[in-house]
């Protein structure tokens, strides 16, 4: 459907205007040799005509009249098809791009049902409160015409307590979110008797956001919803919408536990569009340093905006968003008193402010907006001319979704991906065809993950006694109930399993990693006032004392952080630097689920052809079975056998992170202006991890200094993380990385080294990882922004026998560690290819990290370790 061209100049007439003109200018000005960077790909996606269908059979004349009153005399084909399937009682998922009239696909059949029978009830689930608000505005347009037939309200954390009883009884269309359903509605279902008795439709908007741990939770919440509905005699039908992912129908079916039909045909029209890949040119081939992607994104956005083209810039972090707002405000400054033409938009702005920005975008009053993924979802901001993606969003689906924000009904639009120096970005920029040829990610969930399932079983038992013959998850329900009984949560009677605990189980289960526990930002420049919020996990890195907090291009100095009251007090200031928090991560192994020697590579692509000799998972496994029948790492008694062998492991760990300081980084030059120390509370998470133990002998034999060896291991860890996210198809944020000491040896080193404990057979159980690798704010590495590698190096702790940990960045884990354990050899082999094939001389951000961070020998050591691993494998 798309044509490819190498240079825009062939396509675009001389003196072109609008988007084409801007693209030609970018091509001309930023032209560099392909080897060094520049535009690496231009894809032209031709215009598409609308496909219409007449109003479907069964559409109430009243609704038809209202549609006609709005100038809608026919539907797009996908809307008519959705109406037809919904009327047949089928569950369905509609997969079409942004701004294709998706909402009407569920609103029309449901409003039709409400008009036909006033007792009918429907529940809409949105992943965010903002989306529910957006939909409420849309539905209120219908209320004007439908009157009492449509009684729609949002029900979420913002709903005032005194309004709730009325909503519970009156509303026939409730807009809420999975979290509220989980903690507020299901455990109090008796108050929602009328809703559940008549619940006919459940809408899942933005289905693709329910992946991973969030999706696994939601699937269980929906299991609970279905059994509560069944208790009241109803069986709701599910209607979902999704952005383009590889398996929408499969994901919908896994989430709802029902067969789901899929509508992929998009009847909405679209104008011509260009998709451009841009790689900032290399400025220092020795260090593999490219021009800052932030500066390049700014220049590209400026080129479009100075032609009056409405542009959205997507950044991957809040910090990057604010830095770009600052830049673009400089470029498009307005006189004092005149409204800004560039705004920022991200989570943490107050709802009213967000609504105002959305409106100004729709109505064309803003020239540009810089946003995080907060604007990736279907919030109505109209269609813009251009989307600039400052760095690869992490997944193919997200990339298409963000690019989809640009797209006029008439006139061309453009999306430009500006690659950062992160390994995945570089891979995509250098292999753009890989991007265009590949289907977007699969939305994968695992609702039967025991941790998650057990938590929801508790909630389910709290809601209604569990019966053993119920259909709830793929495991033996009676066995799970007995387990919960042993823990004192359930009690068995002739009627089933009852909840017998004082606690409220839903409160103990968060559906997302981000807690709802927000910090409020209070500006004390004059009269104190709240200007925004920061969620708990980012508060410690963004609003610690002396931080420069940025919001909507303004700078604030954080005077004081009140941790207990969850408030940060700030004063507006003019700052020529911003701050970047430094955090340390410490890992302790609580339980090793499985451990084995690193086995020969299993794929044919690897160098070792002997690989096929055995299944990797079984080959050379050093594993013992203790009397309980649980696999454990071997007792330390046979450390001689262990010492020679690198091992792969997975199990449960405790991760402690602490923000210990910050750096001041100058705007523009990215110089490090100094640093400060902080003492903030430590955060603790229990999760699962995969780790690689490098035996002391292996490292000792390498011809490098101990500092060099350990820096190289740090570089290797970084490369492993990048490859792991690719193998798992997850976001880099989902997988934490850290290095720690393998404990047993530490015992040996210890002055009090008790041989007794070594023979106790505890294995890794009490392993305490020591100070781990230095990790910057995980969403945003300052080194990615910097043109020059930082000159100062952080002190590297000394390890004797290091463990490289890749841990699930979610409490309880999402189940990444077991697949990594299985794919261990593939992981190592791909990491070797990544590092070996990287053109840099001695480490760069695209492989093991810049030499400034991992040392001159970092790349060499990382490769040497990998080669040693394969020697060990082959021996």
């Amino acid at each position: 459907m798309a044509t490819e061209i190498d240079a825009l100049t062939h396509l675009i007439p001389e003196r072109a205007t609008g988007v084409e003109g801007a693209l030609a200018e970018i091509q001309a000005k930023l032209k560099t040799s392909p080897a060094r960077g520049g535009v690496t790909k231009v894809k032209r996606i031709p215009a598409r005509d609308a496909q219409y269908a007449p109003f479907p059979e069964g559409l109430s004349p009243h609704l038809a009249e209202i549609l006609e009153g709005r100038g809608i005399e026919k539907l797009y084909t996908h809307q008519a098809e959705a109406f037809r399937l919904a009327r047949e009682g089928r569950n369905l998922v509609v997969v079409t791009p942004t701004a294709s009239g998706k909402t009407l696909c569920y609103n029309l059949p449901i409003l039709n049902a409400l008009v036909e029978n006033p007792e009918t009830r429907a529940m809409y689930l949105f992943p965010t409160k903002a989306l529910a608000q957006d939909q409420l505005t849309e539905l209120n347009r219908w209320t004007e015409k439908l009157g009492e037939a449509l009684r729609t309200f949002t029900y979420d954390g913002d709903t005032p307590a005194d309004a709730r009883p009325a909503i519970r009884n009156r509303a026939n269309l409730v807009l809420t979110n999975p979290d509220m359903l989980h903690t507020g509605i299901l455990p109090h279902h008796t108050r929602w008797e009328r809703l559940f008795e008549n619940l006919r439709y459940v809408v899942l908007d933005e289905l693709h956001t329910y992946r991973g741990v969030f999706g696994s939770h939601l699937a269980n919440v929906l299991r609970r919803l279905k059994r509560v509905a069944a208790f009241y005699g109803s069986r709701p039908q599910f209607i979902a919408t999704s952005a383009t992912i590889a398996n929408p129908a499969e994901l919908a079916a896994r989430l709802t536990g029902e067969p789901v039909g899929e509508i992929q045909e998009n009847g909405a029209p679209a104008a011509e569009k260009f998709f451009v890949f841009y790689n900032p040119p290399v400025v220092n081939p020795q260090l593999g340093i490219r021009r800052s992607y932030m500066n390049e994104a700014r220049r590209i956005a400026r080129t479009f905006m100075s032609r009056g083209l409405q542009t959205i810039v997507f950044a991957n972090s809040r910090l990057a968003t604010e830095v770009l707002v600052t830049y673009l405000r400089e470029d498009f400054s307005t006189p004092p008193g005149v409204a800004q033409r560039v705004r920022g938009y991200r989570g943490g702005y107050l709802p009213l402010e967000r609504r105002a920005i959305e409106r100004d975008l729709r109505e064309g009053r803003l020239l540009g907006v810089v946003a995080t993924n907060a604007l990736e979802l279907g919030i109505d901001i109209g269609s813009l001319d251009v989307a600039v993606l400052a760095a690869y969003p992490g997944t193919i689906a997200s990339t298409w979704q963000r690019a989809g924000r640009a797209g006029r009904r008439d006139g061309a639009s453009a999306a430009v991906l500006v690659a950062s120096s992160a390994p995945l970005d570089q891979f995509m920029a250098q292999n753009p065809d890989y991007f265009f040829s590949r289907s977007p990610e699969h939305g994968l969930i695992n609702p039967d993950n025991l941790e998650i399932l057990l938590n929801h079983l508790k909630c389910a038992a709290f809601e209604l006694p569990l019966r053993e013959d119920e259909n709830f998850g793929g495991h033996d329900l009676a066995r799970l109930c007995r387990h919960l009984e042993e823990l004192g949560f359930l009690h068995r009677t002739s009627e089933g399993w009852h909840w017998v605990s004082e606690s409220y189980p839903a409160d103990a289960v968060s559906l997302r990693s981000v807690s709802s526990d927000n910090f409020v930002i209070v500006d004390e420049t004059s009269e104190p006032r709240a200007i925004g919020e920061v969620d708990f996990s980012s508060a410690l890195t963004t609003v610690h004392e002396k931080a420069i907090y940025m919001q909507d291009g303004r700078h604030y100095h954080v005077e004081r952080l009140d941790y207990h009251e969850r408030k940060a007090y700030v004063r507006e200031c003019q700052s020529d630097y911003f701050t970047d928090a430094i955090s340390y991560t410490k890992i302790k192994v609580l339980e090793t689920f499985d451990s084995a020697a690193v086995a020969p590579p299993s794929t044919a692509a690897t160098r070792d052809d002997r690989a096929s000799a055995a299944t990797p998972a079984c080959n050379g496994r050093v594993r013992s079975r203790d009397s309980d029948g649980v696999h454990r790492t071997p007792a330390i008694g046979d450390s001689a056998a262990r010492a020679a062998r690198p091992t792969k492991n997975h199990g449960e760990v405790r991760v402690n992170t602490q923000v210990v300081g910050f750096k001041k980084i100058k705007f523009g030059t990215m110089e490090n202006l100094g640093s400060g120390e902080l003492s903030l509370p430590e955060q603790e998470t229990h999760t699962t991890a995969y780790w690689l133990t490098l035996p002391a002998d292996l490292l000792r034999e390498l011809p490098y200094s101990s500092d060099e060896r350990l820096e190289g291991v740090g570089g290797l860890a970084r490369a492993l993380q990048a490859i792991a996210t690719l193998l798992l198809m997850c976001d880099a944020r989902d997988l934490g990385v850290a290095i720690g000491e393998n404990s047993e040896i530490r015992t040996e080193k210890s002055e009090y080294g008790s041989r007794e404990s070594e023979q106790s057979g505890l294995g890794n159980k009490d392993a305490e990882g020591d100070m781990a690798g230095r990790v910057s704010n995980s969403q945003f590495r300052v080194s990615d922004l910097q043109q020059q590698a930082p000159s100062t190096r952080s002190p590297v702790p000394v390890f004797y026998e290091p463990n490289i940990y890749l841990y699930d960045a979610y409490p309880g884990g999402i189940g990444f560690s077991e697949p990594l354990f299985r794919l261990s050899e593939e992981l190592l082999e791909n990491a070797r290819q990544l590092i070996e094939n990287c053109p840099c001389a001695c480490g760069c951000p695209s492989c093991v990290g810049p030499a400034g961070e991992v040392g001159e020998k970092g790349k060499e050591v990382a490769l040497a370790v990998l080669k040693e691993l394969s020697v060990v494998r082959n021996s």
Binding site: P187, H188, H189, T190, E193, R211, G212, G215, H442, G443, L444, I445, N446, D448, N449, L450, E451, L454, F462, E463, L464, P465, H475, D476, R479, L480, H483, E486, L487, G488, H491, T493, S494, E495, H498, W499, V500, S501, E502, S503, Y504, P505, L590, E591, F593, D594, D628, G629, H631, E652, H686, L728, M729, C730, I814, G815, F816, E818, P819, R822
Partner: protein, 463 residues
């Protein structure tokens, strides 16, 4: 996300691992509480032979198994003769009490701002038509997972005060218990609880809905004693929990009672072990709660009717002032005024006295006895430490508002500006008030009001 993980371990093994981990973290949190409880329980158990086999509720609580359409259930029924003393009362006082005085708590508060057009709520019926109710539950969390395992309900029947306690020997008996309770409530016209509006009744409503049974509550007039008791005794008691009211107001000492927070665990232990030994204490606790609730209603009604002797002089003045506020809230300014006069005459603590004086001045003003009002306002300014900018003395009374002296200044300024028509005097009071406001932080609306007044007065006085 990875593909669903291949089962490398059996389900049994995984569960074991998860159990160990879960036990570790969960235990840490509740460890202290559990240990404290276990220690207490062990102490109690020492007195009993260790090898005694678990025995059911019938062994420990006098009661019987009954049956209705929904099955069997256990009920303990105690008929208390009217002559039996209960603290300072006799049981018969409950049956014979005239509780109509409590009707003022069934009315919405009258703030003097016009009458509400809501229909008048029904009055409390005769004591013989009342049910006094209290539940023991498996927790305070609320929601569908909390069960009322013991429901105590007391009614007056044929010369006796009858306390029935319906008990769930196990969860499947719930429907039968709910049906039996509905039968008792069906004979009543009114319901009296302590915190029942927020806790017991919504919880029981949830249970009835879950049992798919009709709610017995909508037709009952419901008096929740929590707020009336707080209005009456908050000034002199630190806590207005039922147990404290019982000790301080009714003069009752419980023996061998169990702490409310231990009750869910005792029931869960019973479910697991089948041993009902510790439950006897819970029955005792619940029966006393129901009786005290009824006795408290009687005492409060008497206080309002002016029949009850007040304990001591110090208590009586505070109680009188509380009564005055109850009357005031109900819109009965005559009685309110009289009770307050009496309270002031017998002496109040300084902080409460100022507040009482303020109320008194407001009443005077309403009755156009301006001279008396001015006298009191002046007195308030004299005694209140607002001049020094110190914070208000009694947080319970100030409700976070500005010191009463500031309000007294405002009243005086209004009085001299509009009634006496002496703008100079009014301005003098305004300036003094502003001086006080400058010294300590107060709501900006107040400052704004005084500033406007000053501007206007300056114009009038030609300054």
């Amino acid at each position: 996300m990875p593909k669903p993980t291949r089962q490398t371990m059996s389900l049994e093994e995984k569960l074991r691992l998860i159990k160990n981990a879960a036990a570790k973290s969960a235990r840490e949190q509740v460890l202290d509480r559990e240990l404290a409880y276990l220690a207490r329980r062990a102490q109690r158990r020492k007195q009993l032979p260790a090898d005694r086999a678990p025995r059911g509720i019938e062994e420990y609580v006098e009661g019987r198994t009954e049956q209705n359409d929904f099955g069997e259930f256990f009920v303990a029924r105690q008929a208390l003769p009217f002559g039996r003393p209960y603290g300072s009362l006799r049981i018969g006082d409950i049956a014979g009490a005239s509780l109509e005085a409590l009707n003022i708590f069934l009315r919405p508060a009258r703030n003097g701002t016009g009458s509400l057009s809501l229909p008048a709520p029904a009055d409390l019926p005769e004591p013989s038509r009342l049910a006094f109710l209290d539940t023991e539950t498996t927790g305070l969390a609320g929601g569908t997972g909390t069960v009322a395992f013991l429901i105590g309900v007391a009614t007056v029947e044929a010369g006796r005060f009858v306390v029935r306690q319906f008990f769930l020997r196990d969860y499947p008996e719930e429907k039968a218990v709910l049906a039996a309770l509905a039968e008792v409530l069906g004979r009543a016209e009114g319901l009296v609880t302590f915190n029942g509006k927020t806790f017991d009744v919504p919880l029981l409503e949830t249970r009835y809905t879950l049992a798919r049974m009709k709610l017995p509550f909508p037709r009952l007039v419901h008096l929740d004693m929590l707020h009336p008791a707080r209005q009456m005794w908050k000034l002199r008691l630190e806590s207005c929990a039922l147990a404290d009211l019982e000790r301080q107001v009714l003069d009752i000492r419980r023996e061998g009672d169990v702490a409310g927070s231990e009750i869910p665990r005792i029931y869960f232990d019973y479910l697991r072990s089948g041993d009902a030994r510790s439950l006897a204490q819970v029955f005792y606790h619940n029966a006393l709660d129901v009786l005290s609730l009824a006795a408290l209603a009687v005492v409060l009604a008497r206080l309002i009717q002016g029949e009850e002797r007040l304990a001591s002089a110090a208590h009586s003045s505070l109680d009188l002032y509380s009564l005055s506020r109850i009357f005031r809230r109900a819109g009965n300014s005559e009685k309110s005024f009289a009770a307050r006069e009496q309270a002031l005459a017998s002496g109040l603590p300084a902080s409460v006295e100022t507040r009482a004086l303020w109320d008194q001045a407001t009443d005077h003003k309403r009755r156009r006895r301006h001279a008396q009002a001015v006298e009191i306002w002046t007195e308030i300014i004299r005694r209140e430490p607002a001049r020094a900018g110190r914070p208000p003395s009694s947080p319970a009374l100030s409700d976070g508002r500005a010191p009463l002296a500031i309000h007294a200044y405002e009243e005086l300024a209004i009085h001299f500006e509009h009634r006496v028509r002496d703008p100079r005097q009014a301005l003098a009071f305004t300036e003094e008030a502003l001086e006080c406001l400058r010294r300590s932080p107060h709501p900006s609306s107040l400052l704004h009001r005084f500033n406007r007044r000053r501007q206007r007065l300056e114009r009038k006085t030609g300054l």
